[in-house]
Structures are given as structure tokens and as C-alpha cells.
């Protein structure tokens, strides 16, 4: 049943190569999930060495957030209280060793396989391979005219995504070995993480929208499970639930988009859709509606306005999760979807403009919030939302390669930032743990001056910061610059520029987006520098006793950091602009992805590739660099880490600072406007009112009361006097006979 090849696949240039093992890619992590999942069901946990020296710096995972600490201890079935004591026993799972082999190993094998496939693909012509390699396994939903196969496809875009997912995934798995070491739910963690990778691979490998949707919702599920990994704390469980439900709102959009596609094109296969979509009217309401609904799905998964609210809360999960799911891979699925559906979006300029606008607004909006966050992970979370906005600006404006390029570089430096922050938190918590303190291990006001204690982390995080800020020759510089540049170039002479968005000319919209992008770049440089300064520089605020226990993380954690650091530094080589041709081959990614998105990109730009003059390009690049450096300088000059006091003694913020710290009160507003009325309506009107009041009380029990009334009448007639009965009977007989007589 499995692996029933379709004959046409045999003619593909990749047929017979290692790519035939495509199905193994998601299956490997799935296997890991099964093994780790079974291990996690083994209830036994053993007490690890209770000796503080042995556990030194190793049980940091306990303190994910301030609340995470208490939770943890309670996870062991028979340990209560005594948490405030200095040395509570370290709890390790009996099969932790097996999980730490299986979990990363399946990923590493998958990565190796992916690399092999990459070379196979290059060997088969790489950038010139125009049809995806499709493998059909079995018929999934045959229903009348609707035929849906469980099928995977591999093309250049999927290949890139697979490499990022398995590569970064492997590194994060390795990091987790150290980070989660003493968590009793260790195998469970790896099980979820493996499952996530499996679904993520299904998402990028699916050959039609429903298979993509399987991965799409599957990663949402894993995100839900991992955010709520320390479920004993209500806030964590709430965050997981919120993520899932908000994502579902987006999924609703994606579903509707699929229904519209099927109703109008009769197919949901990527290949067939791309072939047939030109039958729809260019820029017509139908294709625009499809794209907008699809984009609703993206706003959910990729945390864009108005559905971004779940992502900052999602930081309740363990830090490796934040790195893998909520920075590097899952949240970029929306970008992937648009790139995948580039043919559709290139047909709908209005939808493209909408994507651009939403992306720009999200970028600037999240960046302003990031300015005033104190939780180190929250800063990174809003930074992620902001960077995702950049990617959407790219894919929305038809610069699909730029968007995907930023996706890849962002995966490197943001994973590095998150893992670095994990390393910091790990150290902070270990320190607090040793002194029995209950301070918040994630609040930057409690940090400061950590650089001497953790040199490796410090250097690597600076690399990532420079990358995200857009300092030249780091990865982020190239990708961000390409997005901004293409926005600028498409503001004239493209279908987008000619379209009108809510009455505004498209070119004005694109220039506006470009301006917002620049502003967001400035803010990005500021808040990232702020984070670095408050964390690593200035005086130390951890406290006297804790200072002695600050240590760099073990090699299993720093190792992946180093690899990511290298990637963040040189990731830009993937797609060098013409102006930096002295660094290497120009536009490698452009050529690689050309078969997938090239046609669509050209459609947006009216058939001619936009070429900037050398001077324009220099000006654009120069402006971006200037802004990045300006941001770093502003932050470095204006911020006074010396004035900071630990969180516990910090005063309340006022005015705009307070609004920013409270994220513009958007969560509260959603609560008031959406959640509370819905629940109130359901409880007050629908349930108590209609269900119990009208239907049950009036109609159902009302008719019962009516019947009871009649029957009490009947009961009164039944007096029990047989004499009376006889009379009634005889009169009845008289009447019946009388009727016969008269007739």
C-alpha cells in the first residue's frame, strides 16, 4: 500500500536517486516520537545525584520562568513541598539516556538524508529542474469527483525548508540534551520535539493543500503541547491553549481558501492548482478572496496582526521550543505557504498589498513593544513577530526569494539568540537555585554584567545581534536589505504599484511599507542592543551570593551555539546581491528557487526582473547600514545600565512606557471584545436562555405540564365509583347504538 509509485514519477530526473527515500524524512522523527513517547509513559523516575556539586549548573532547566520552578518539583509524583530548601533531590528519568540518543539521532539521520537529497538534486540540474518530484503513496480521501492522495513532493523550496528544519532542528535537539537534563518529563519533551519535526516536514513536503494542512495543524498541536509542557502552572497551560485556538482561527481561513480552490478549480494538488489557476480572472474578486483567506491562515500561524497575540505568550514553553518552533521553523510556515502559493498571490495584487501592509504594520508594531520588555524571552518573541513582518513584506510584494532568504537567515540568528538566552537563563537559574532564591531568572533587571561569566554565549549572541540589526556582512544584513530593496523597486512599474488598496495607490502603499520597514530596522537595532547591554554589560545585579554560581553552560549546549553563530555570520552567502559580488557568486538562492517562484515573481513585475541602477542600490544599502549603526549607537549612548535596579525594587512605569510594557493592552482588548462576550452570550443567552429557558422549560416541559393538566382532569373523572362507570358505559352504548339507529 505504502510506496505505490505513480508511473509518471519514474520519468522525473530525480527518479531512482536517494530522493526516492523521501517518505523516510518525516518517518524518522515520527519513529523518534513513538520511541520517546513510549519511554515517557514509563512512570518511573529515579532520583539523580542529590549532591549539589554534581548537579552544579545542571539543573537549570527547572527555572524556565519564575513560575516554572515550582511546577517542576511537583511533577515528580511523590515529592511535595520542601522546595524552598536548598538541595532538593534532582529528578532524572530512568530512560533519559535512551531519549537523548534517539531524539537527536533521528534528526541527525534525517539531516544527513536531506543533505544527500540536496546533492542529488544539484546533480540532477538543481535550478533547472522545473517539475517537483512527486511521490504518491495511497489515496487519502476518494469521494466522488474529489480525489486526494497522500503524496509528498520535493522541489527546490521544499529542499531548502527541509535543510533548515532538520539542520537547525538537530542543533536544537542537541542543545536540549543539556538544557532539559534534569527534567522528569525528559523523554516526553523529546517525543513532542520529534513529533513537531515530523509534522513540520509533512508541512513542507506535502504535495497538496490538505497534506500541508496535516502538517500545519500538526505543528500547531506540538506547539500547544510544548508551550504547555510544564502544564501544572495555569499560565503555561493557558498559553498553549491560546496558541492553539488563535491558530485555529487562522486555520479556518486556510480551510475556506481550500474550499474555494476546490469549488473553482476542482483540485487541491499544488501542481494542478498552479497549472489551472490562470483560468481565474487576474486580480478578480475570487482569487483575491482565496488569497486573503489563505493569508488569514498565515497570520495565525506566523503571528501577524491581528492574530500575533499568541506568540509572546508561547514563551512559556522551554527555551529550545521557543528557538525551534517559535522562531526558526513553525512560525515561518505562513511565509512558506505564500511562497508555495506564489502563483495565486501573483494573480491577486490587492491581496499581495494586503500582505505587505500587514507585514509592515506588524514589523513596526512589534518592534515598539520590544523596546520596553524586561523579560529576555519576550524581547526575542516580539523581535520574532517583527522579523516575520519583514518576511511577509517580502513575499507580499512579490519578492518571494527575498522573503524565503530572510526566513533562512532568521532561522539561524534567531535560533541562536533564543538558545543563547536559554544559556543565560540556565546559568541564572542555576545560580538562584543554589542560593534558594525565588527571583525571576528571565528578567533583564536581574542580570547585567554577565559577559565575564559566560564568554562564549556573550560573543555568539553579539554576532546574532549584529546579524539581526543588519550590520554589513552578517546574514541578516543581506536578507533584510533585499526585502527593503525589492519593496522600493516594486513601488513603480509592477502590478502591485498599479493596483489600488482601499483606494490608496499601490506605489504609495509600497513606499509607505518601505518607510515602516526602515523605521522597524532602526527600532530593531535599538532594542537588540538594549537587550545585550542590559544582559551582559554594566554592573551585575544578580546578587552577591548568586554571583559565585554563575557559569557557562556545558559543551553540549555551547556546541550548537557555535555552529549557529557561524551560520549567522556567513548565512548571507546564500544570496549575495550584485553589489557585493566581490564576496562570491551572486544570487545563488535566486537561481535555486527560480523554477518554483520565478514565474510568479516575474508576473508581479510585469515580466521584467527589476534591476536597480548601481547608484540606487548603493543608496539603499547605505541607508540601511546607516540606520542599523544609528540604532546601535543610540542604544549604546542613551541607555544607562548602571541605573537599573533588580526587578523586585523597580518602580512602576508611566505613560507611554507603561502602554508599551503592557503591549498596548491588546490582550485585554481582545478579552473584553471577543472572549468575554462570547462566553457571556453562550452562558447567559444560549444555554440558560434558549436552551434551558425557552426550549426546555417552555416547549418541552410546557407540553409536559399541559399533558399533566389533561391527565389530572382524566384522573378526576376516574372517581373509582364503579356505579358511575356503569352509567357512563351505558350512556356510551346508547350513543353508539343510537348512531346506528339513526343512520
Amino acid at each position: 500500500m505504502l510506496l505505490q509509485h505513480e508511473v509518471s514519477a519514474a520519468a522525473h530526473p530525480l527518479a531512482g536517486t536517494v530522493v526516492e527515500w523521501l517518505w523516510l524524512l518525516p518517518l524518522l522523527p515520527l519513529l523518534g516520537f513513538v520511541i520517546n513517547g513510549l519511554l515517557s509513559l514509563v512512570p518511573a523516575t529515579v532520583l539523580g545525584p542529590g549532591d549539589p556539586d554534581m548537579a552544579h549548573g545542571a539543573d537549570g532547566a527547572h527555572g524556565e520562568a519564575g513560575h516554572g520552578v515550582a511546577v517542576h518539583a511537583h511533577e515528580t509524583a511523590d515529592e511535595h513541598g520542601a522546595h524552598g530548601d536548598d538541595h532538593h533531590p534532582v529528578v532524572r528519568h530512568r530512560f533519559a539516556w535512551l531519549a537523548s540518543i534517539v531524539g537527536p539521532a533521528v534528526l541527525a539521520i534525517a539531516f544527513g538524508l536531506a543533505v544527500a537529497m540536496f546533492f542529488a538534486m544539484r546533480g540532477a540540474g538543481g535550478g533547472e529542474m522545473h517539475a517537483p518530484f512527486v511521490q504518491r503513496y495511497f489515496s487519502w480521501m476518494p469521494a466522488g469527483t474529489f480525489h486526494l492522495d497522500a503524496a509528498f513532493q520535493l522541489d527546490q523550496l521544499s529542499m531548502l525548508m527541509v535543510l533548515v528544519i532538520t539542520g537547525v532542528g538537530t542543533l536544537i535537539h542537541l542543545f536540549s540534551i543539556g538544557y532539559m537534563q534534569d527534567d522528569p518529563g525528559y523523554p516526553r519533551f523529546f517525543a513532542y520535539l520529534n513529533l513537531f519535526v515530523a509534522f513540520m516536514l509533512v508541512l513542507v513536503l506535502g504535495a497538496n493543500y490538505p497534506v500541508l494542512f496535516v502538517g500545519w495543524e500538526g505543528v500547531g498541536l506540538c506547539s500547544y503541547l510544548l508551550i504547555g509542557f510544564w502544564f501544572s502552572e495555569k499560565a503555561n497551560a493557558d498559553a498553549g491553549k491560546k496558541a492553539f485556538i488563535v491558530n485555529r482561527i487562522g486555520d479556518f481561513g486556510l480551510l475556506i481558501a481550500m474550499f474555494l480552490l476546490f469549488a473553482n478549480l476542482g483540485t487541491l494538488d499544488f501542481v494542478a492548482v498552479n497549472e489551472n489557476v490562470t483560468r481565474l480572472a487576474f486580480g478578480g474578486p475570487l482569487i483575491t478572496t482565496i488569497c486573503l483567506f489563505m493569508f488569514l491562515g498565515c497570520t495565525g500561524k506566523s503571528a501577524q496582526i491581528p492574530l500575533y497575540i499568541w506568540l509572546p505568550d508561547a514563551m512559556a514553553g522551554p527555551t529550545p521550543v521557543s528557538a525551534l518552533i517559535h522562531a526558526a521553523t513553525m512560525v515561518t510556515a505562513g511565509v512558506y505557504l505564500i511562497a508555495r502559493s506564489s502563483v495565486l498571490f501573483s494573480m491577486a495584487p490587492v491581496a499581495g498589498l494586503t500582505v505587505t501592509v500587514i507585514g509592515a504594520l506588524t514589523a513596526i508594531f512589534a518592534a515598539t513593544i520590544g523596546l520596553k520588555q524586561w523579560d529576555i524571552k519576550k524581547v526575542l518573541a516580539y523581535s520574532t513577530v517583527s522579523q516575520l513582518g519583514y518576511m511577509f513584506m517580502g513575499v507580499g510584494s512579490g519578492a518571494y526569494v527575498a522573503g524565503v532568504f530572510h526566513l533562512a537567515t532568521h532561522a539561524f540568528f534567531k535560533a541562536l539568540l533564543f538558545l543563547g538566552s536559554g544559556s543565560v537563563i540556565f546559568a541564572m537559574h542555576a545560580a538562584y537555585h543554589h542560593t534558594g532564591s525565588h527571583e525571576d531568572a528571565q528578567d533583564m533587571r536581574n542580570m547585567g554584567g554577565l559577559a565575564p561569566y559566560m564568554r562564549v554565549t556573550w560573543i555568539l549572541m553579539w554576532i546574532a545581534t549584529l546579524a539581526i540589526a543588519g550590520v554589513p556582512f552578517f546574514a541578516g544584513f543581506f536578507s533584510k536589505d533585499e526585502i527593503l530593496g525589492s519593496l522600493f523597486l516594486r513601488a513603480h512599474d509592477s502590478t502591485l504599484a498599479d493596483a489600488r488598496w482601499l483606494g490608496i495607490p499601490g506605489s504609495a502603499v509600497l513606499y509607505g511599507a518601505y518607510a515602516l520597514g526602515l523605521a522597524a530596522a532602526l527600532l530593531t537595532a535599538i532594542y537588540m542592543t538594549r537587550m545585550m547591554i542590559y544582559t551582559f554589560h554594566g554592573p551585575n545585579r544578580t546578587g552577591e551570593k548568586e554571583r559565585d554560581h554563575l557559569h557557562e553552560a556545558p559543551w553540549i549546549m555551547t556546541g550548537p551555539l557555535v555552529v549557529l553563530g557561524i551560520l549567522s555570520a556567513v548565512g548571507g552567502w546564500l544570496n549575495l546581491p550584485a553589489i557585493t559580488s566581490f564576496l562570491g557568486p551572486v544570487g545563488a538562492l535566486d537561481r535555486w528557487l527560480e523554477p518554483v517562484v520565478g514565474e510568479s515573481a516575474l508576473r508581479v513585475t510585469n515580466g521584467v526582473a527589476p534591476e536597480a541602477t548601481h547608484s540606487t542600490e548603493l543608496a539603499l544599502v547605505g541607508g540601511a547600514v546607516a540606520i542599523a549603526l544609528l540604532g546601535i549607537i543610540i542604544a549604546a549612548v542613551r541607555l544607562k545600565p548602571a541605573r537599573l535596579v533588580p526587578k523586585a525594587q523597580s518602580p512602576e512605569e508611566h505613560g507611554i512606557e507603561r502602554v508599551l510594557a503592557n503591549k498596548y493592552y491588546v490582550d485585554e482588548a481582545y478579552d473584553r471584545v471577543v472572549v468575554e462576550p462570547t462566553v457571556g452570550l453562550s452562558r447567559g443567552v444560549l444555554w440558560k436562555g434558549i436552551d434551558q429557558g425557552i426550549i426546555d422549560n417552555v416547549l418541552v416541559n410546557g407540553s409536559a405540564r399541559l399533558a399533566r393538566g389533561f391527565s389530572s382532569l382524566g384522573s378526576w373523572v376516574q372517581s373509582g365509583q364503579i356505579g358511575t362507570y356503569a352509567w357512563v358505559l351505558v350512556i356510551g352504548v346508547l350513543a353508539v347504538l343510537g348512531a346506528f339507529t339513526i343512520r
Binding site: I722, Y725, W727, V730
Partner: protein
């Protein structure tokens, strides 16, 4: 003699009905019912002569049923009397719904 027999049968039946309607003693009412059964039997027999012997067979069955009914009915009356110390139906309304 068919018409006469039916005449007598009707009169006897009516007397039985009037008895049921005017008396309150359970046993007498019961006997009135027996009278009604007998009145019906008379017409059965009369019809049997005119239309075939099946009527007589039916009378046979009626008598059997009447016997059974008498046995059970009287047993009920005895049980009721034991319970209420009366057979006056005005004082008995255990059938009240």
C-alpha cells in the same frame, strides 16, 4: 319464534342494565351482569335455530366464561369485603385514578 325470543332477550338484557344502574351492592350488580349474559345466550340460541348450530357452541363458551368470571369475581368480592367490611360500591373506590 325468533322475534319473540329476541324480544324476551332484549327485555331481560334491559332489566339487567337497569339493575346495574340502580343497585349498589356488588353481589347484586354481579348477578345483574349474569342476567345480561343469560339474555344474550337466549338470543344466541334463538339465532342458532335460524342460522346454524354455531350459536349454541357460542353459548357453551359464554357459560364457561361466566363460570370462570363468577369464580374470580366472587373471590375478589370476598377479598374486598375482608378488607373494607362492605360490599357497597359507594364505599369502595380503590379504582380511583
Amino acid at each position: 319464534m325468533l322475534a319473540e325470543a329476541i324480544f324476551f332477550s332484549a327485555v331481560l338484557f334491559t332489566i339487567g342494565v337497569i339493575g346495574v344502574l340502580t343497585r349498589r351492592n356488588a353481589i347484586i350488580i354481579f348477578m345483574c351482569v349474569e342476567l345480561m349474559l343469560n339474555a344474550v345466550n337466549l338470543s344466541f340460541v334463538a339465532f342458532a335455530r335460524a342460522y346454524g348450530v354455531a350459536g349454541q357452541v357460542f353459548v357453551f363458551f359464554v357459560m364457561t366464561v361466566a363460570a370462570a368470571e363468577a369464580a374470580v369475581g366472587l373471590a375478589i368480592i370476598i377479598a374486598m369485603f375482608r378488607h373494607k367490611q362492605t360490599v357497597n360500591l359507594q364505599n369502595i373506590n380503590i379504582l380511583k385514578g
